[in-house]
C-alpha cells in the first residue's frame, strides 16, 4: 500500500486499546511517517501561579470579546440611530453608528482571534514534529503498474486501430465543443454601428440640431462670459445621454484666436468654438480648462489639448485632435440660439480599428 507502514499497523486492536490516547496518537502518527521529536507540557506542574495567570489573561481577552459582541448587538439594534440626517437637522448621532459597529465587531473578532492564538502559544504542549514527505513521483513499480493500466485501457479502446472512429468522434466532439462558444458569442454579438444611436462614427448632431444644456435649455451666445465654457448636447431625443456627444462650448477671451484646421475655418461663430468633450484617447471627458493658456486637460490620463491650436494634443497619450463642431446661430422670438451646421466631420471619442 502506501509508504510509512509503521509499528501502528502491526499492533492488534487489544494491544492498541491498552495505549493511552497520547501514546496512541504518537504510534498513529509514526504509522503515517510523522515523528514527534520533541514534546513537553508548557507547565509541567499543573496549577502554578504562572499557569493560572496565563489562563486568566486569556479568559479576560475572551470576556472582552463577549462584551464587545454584546455591545455590537445593542448598538446595532437601535442604541445609536443609523438614519442619515442633514447637518443641523435632527439627531446627528448616526455619525457614530458605522465607526462604532465596525470597531466593536473588530474588537470582538480580535479578542477571539488573539485569545485562541494565545491559548495555542501559552498552554498547548511545546512540540516539534517531523513528517516524511514521500513526495515526487511514486516508486517505479507503482509507475509501471499505473502506466500498464493506462496503456491497457487505451488498447482496449483500440484507438490506434480504429482510426475511422477516432476521426469521426474528433469531428463530432470538436464541432460540439465550438457550440457553447457559438451559443454565447452568437447570443451576445451585435453588429457595430447599426441602429439609431449605435454609430461610432456619428453623433446625433446634424444640420439645424439645437445645442442644449443637460437640462434641455437652449444655448444662447449671451450665456457665457469671455473665457467661459459650457458642456452642451445635441437637442434631440436621448441627446444628453449619448456618450460620444458631450460638447465643450468655449467663448474665447479677447485677443485669443484659434488656428483652424484645413476646411474648418468657418466652424466657429464669433468668438465661440465648440469641440467634442470626449477625449480621443480613452473617452473620458476632457474637462479641465485653463482660460489663460487655452489648454484642456483630461484628468484620466492627462492628455492636454491646446484649444488655440484647434484642440491639438500637446502632451500625454492622446494622438488625435478633439473634433470640432460647426456652429451657427438661429433667431427664435428675437433671441439668438446656437445650432449645429452639421455633425462632427469625424468620429468623436477614442479611436478604433475601422477609423481611418
Amino acid at each position: 500500500m502506501t509508504h510509512g507502514q509503521g509499528s501502528g499497523e502491526s499492533l492488534t486492536a487489544e494491544e492498541a486499546a491498552e495505549l493511552s490516547p497520547e501514546e496512541a496518537m504518537i504510534v498513529g502518527a509514526e504509522a503515517d511517517g510523522i515523528y514527534i521529536v520533541h514534546r513537553r507540557e508548557r507547565f509541567p506542574i499543573a496549577g502554578t501561579k504562572a499557569e493560572r495567570r496565563a489562563e486568566r489573561t486569556i479568559a479576560t481577552v475572551f470576556l472582552i470579546g463577549f462584551l464587545a459582541a454584546v455591545a455590537f448587538i445593542v448598538v446595532f439594534c437601535g442604541a445609536v440611530p443609523f438614519e442619515w440626517r442633514l447637518p443641523g437637522a435632527g439627531n446627528q448621532n448616526y455619525r457614530y453608528f458605522t465607526p462604532l459597529i465596525g470597531s466593536l465587531l473588530g474588537l470582538s473578532l480580535a479578542c477571539i482571534g488573539i485569545g485562541v492564538v494565545l491559548w495555542a502559544k501559552w498552554l498547548l504542549p511545546e512540540e516539534e514534529a517531523v513528517q516524511d514527505r514521500h513526495d515526487g513521483a511514486s516508486d517505479m513499480t507503482e509507475q509501471i503498474l499505473g502506466a500498464g493500466t493506462l496503456v491497457s485501457g487505451f488498447s482496449d479502446l483500440g484507438v490506434a486501430r480504429r482510426s475511422m472512429l477516432k476521426t469521426t468522434l474528433a469531428l463530432a466532439g470538436g464541432a460540439l465543443g465550438v457550440v457553447p462558444l457559438v451559443a454565447l458569442v452568437g447570443a451576445m454579438i451585435k453588429k457595430p454601428n447599426r441602429g439609431p444611436g449605435q454609430s461610432l462614427f456619428h453623433t446625433p448632431f446634424g444640420p439645424g440640431v439645437p445645442l442644449v444644456y443637460a437640462d434641455g435649455r437652449r444655448v444662447s451666445p449671451n450665456d457665457l462670459q469671455p473665457g467661459g465654457i459650457a458642456t452642451v448636447f445635441p437637442g434631440v431625443e436621448g441627446g444628453t445621454k449619448d456618450a460620444d456627444s458631450p460638447t465643450l462650448l468655449i467663448r474665447l477671451r479677447p485677443g485669443q484666436a484659434v488656428k483652424a484646421r484645413k476646411g474648418q475655418a468657418d466652424f466657429g461663430w464669433g468668438d465661440y468654438v465648440a469641440f467634442s468633450k470626449i477625449c480621443t484617447h480613452a473617452g473620458c471627458p476632457a474637462s479641465l480648462f485653463e482660460q489663460k493658456t487655452g489648454r484642456l486637460l483630461c484628468p484620466c490620463h492627462q492628455s492636454q489639448f491646446d484649444v488655440l491650436q484647434d484642440a491639438k494634443p500637446v502632451f500625454g497619450p492622446a494622438t488625435r485632435s478633439l473634433p470640432k463642431l460647426p456652429l451657427t446661430v438661429e433667431l427664435v422670438d428675437g433671441q439668438q440660439y446656437f445650432t449645429a451646421r452639421g455633425d462632427y466631420p469625424e468620429a468623436t471619442g477614442p479611436s478604433f480599428w475601422e477609423r481611418p
Binding site: 486492536a13 487489544e14 492498541a16 486499546a17 502518527a29 503515517d32 510523522i34 508548557r42 509541567p44 506542574i45 504562572a50 446595532f76 443609523f82 442619515w84 465596525g102 470597531s103 473588530g106 470582538s108 480580535a110 477571539i112 482571534g113 485569545g115 485562541v116 491559548w119 495555542a120 502559544k121 498547548l124 504542549p125 512540540e127 517531523v130 513526495d135 515526487g136 458569442v185 454579438i189 451585435k190 457595430p192 449605435q198 454609430s199 461610432l200 458642456t231 456618450a243 458631450p246 480613452a282 473617452g283 474637462s287 479641465l288 484628468p299 484620466c300 492628455s303 492636454q304 494634443p313 497619450p317 492622446a318 494622438t319 477614442p350 479611436s351 478604433f352 480599428w353 475601422e354 481611418p356
Partner: protein, 559 residues
Amino acid sequence: MTTIDSADSRRPADGPTGPTVRGPKRFDKPRTPQGKAARWAEDRLGIAGGLRKQLNKVFPDHWSFMMGEIALYSFIILILSGTFLTFFFDASMAEVRYDGSYVPLDGVEMSRAYASTLNISFDVRGGLVMRQIHHWAALLFMAAMLIHMFRVFFTGAFRKPRELNWLIGLGLITLGLVEGFAGYSLPDDLLSGTGLRIAAAIMQSIPVIGSWAEFLVFGGKFPGTEIIGRLYIVHVLLVPGILAGLIGAHMALLIKQKHTEFPGPGKTEHTVSGERMYPTYGMKAGGFFFIVFAVCAALGGLAQINPVWLFGPYNPAQVSSGSQPDWYIGFLDGSTRLFPSWEIRLFDHTIPPLFWPTLVLPGILFTLAGAYPFLEAKFTRDRSAHNLLQRPRDVPVRTGLGVMAITFYSVLLLSGGNDLIAKAFDLSLNAMTWAGRISLLVLPPLAYAVTYKICLGLQRHDREVLEHGIETGIIKLLPNGEFIEIHQPLGPVDDHGHGQLGYAGVPVPKKMNQLGARGGGIRGFFYPVREKADIQAELDALAAQEALQERHRERELTD
C-alpha cells in the same frame, strides 16, 4: 481472458449481517456521546485512518508563510460580506429618481444600481459597514496575494515540484484583478462609470475586432443598458466560482506536496518539520482568521472607502480630477499615462495607442511571470525537486530580476497617481509624466545591478563571519603598538585561526547577542515570558518530589 472468482467466495464467513467482534468493547460499543458520534461516523465513512493522517499533518511556522493565509481569509471575508450586499443590491441600469434618506441627491436621476448602493449606504442598517468591509477585504485580498507571490518568488518556492501551483497562483491574481474591477464598477457612480468608459475604449482599441468586442460586451455602444447586469453575474457567480475552484486546487496541491521550509538544523529535503495541524497549528491558523477579519471590520467601520454618494451618478459628460482606480488596477492606469501618443494608421485603419499599455503590456508581464519557473530551470539546468527554500542573497540573479520587476511595477503604480503626487508636492504634471517614462526604462536595470551587488556583498559577509568570526567590538593593543579587533569564531578554527564551518544556506549570526552573549534577553510585554530555566526548575522540583515519595514508599515496604 482470465476469469475472476465470484465475489461471494471472498465474503467473510460471518457475512455482513452476522455478529462482528471488532475489538475491545470500550471502542466497539462506546458509552460517551463523543464516542457514539465517532462510532456513527466511522461505521458510515471509515475515516479513522485518513482523518488521523490529516489531523497530524505537519505545518512549518514562519511569519512569511502568513501572506497566503491572509489572502485565503480575505477571500472568505469577501464571500461573507458580499453575500450580505447581494440581498440589497439591484444590478439594473433602469433610470429612477432618488428619494432615499441622503437628501443632497434627492430627486436626482440615476440608475437603480447606484440608487441601491446609496440605499445600502444610508437606509440599510449596517449596510455601509458591510460595503466598506467588502471593499477593504478586496484591497487586502489583492495585496496579500501579491506579497505572497513575492515571498514564493524570492525564496525559490516555485521550483520543481511546485510550478503548477505557481501558475494557479498567477491565475488567481489575474482573476482577482477582473473580479475587483467588476466589483467596483457595479455601483455605477461617476468614478466607476469613468472606469467602464476606459474599459470600453480599451476594448475598442483591439485591432480588427475592437468595436465588435465592445458591442458584444456592452450589448451595443457604450454605455448601453446591459453592462451592470452582466458584470454583476460575472462578479458574484462566474469569477468567484472559478476563484474558489482554483483556491481549492491550490490548497489540494499544497497538501499533497506539503510546505516548503527554510533550511536549518535538522531540516532536510525529505522531511517537513513544525507543528501538527491538530490542535496547535489549526488553533493558530483559526485564531489568525479572526484577527484578519477583525482588521477588515475595524477598517470597514473607521476608514471611509469609496464614498460613492460624493461622486454622484455616472454621466458621460462629467469626470472628477484625481480619478484613481483601486490600487491593483493602478499599474495599468500608470502605463496608460506614460505610454507615448503613438498611433499606428495603416490603409485607412487605426491601432490606437491605448492598445499597447493596457492589453499588450499586461499580457507580456503575466506571460513572463508564468514562464519564469520554466525559464529559470532551463537556464540553470536545475531539474531536481526542491523542498528547502533559498535565501534571496544566495540567488543574486533571481533576486535581481525580482527587484527589477517590482521596480518596473512600482514606477507604473506611482505613475497611476502622478497627478496626486504632482498636486501634493506642487510639481509639474508634465515633469511627473516624463520622470515616469524615464524611470520606467532606467530604474529597473539599475535596481537589478544594485540588488545583485548587495546580494554578493551579503554573501561575502556571511563567509567572512564564518571564516573570521563575529566582530566583538573589543579592541586590543598588541605589544608592538598595533590595535586589533577581537573576533569570536563560530566554531573550531584551524592553525591560522580561520573558522572551518561552511555556509549552509541559513542565517549566520553576526552579533554577539545572537550567540547569547548578553545572557539571554527577557521577552514578554507585561510579564517576562517563562524562560527555559524556569521550566527546568519546576521539573527539578517535580523530580525531587517524586524521589521523596519513592523513598517514603520504600521505607514503608522495608518497615
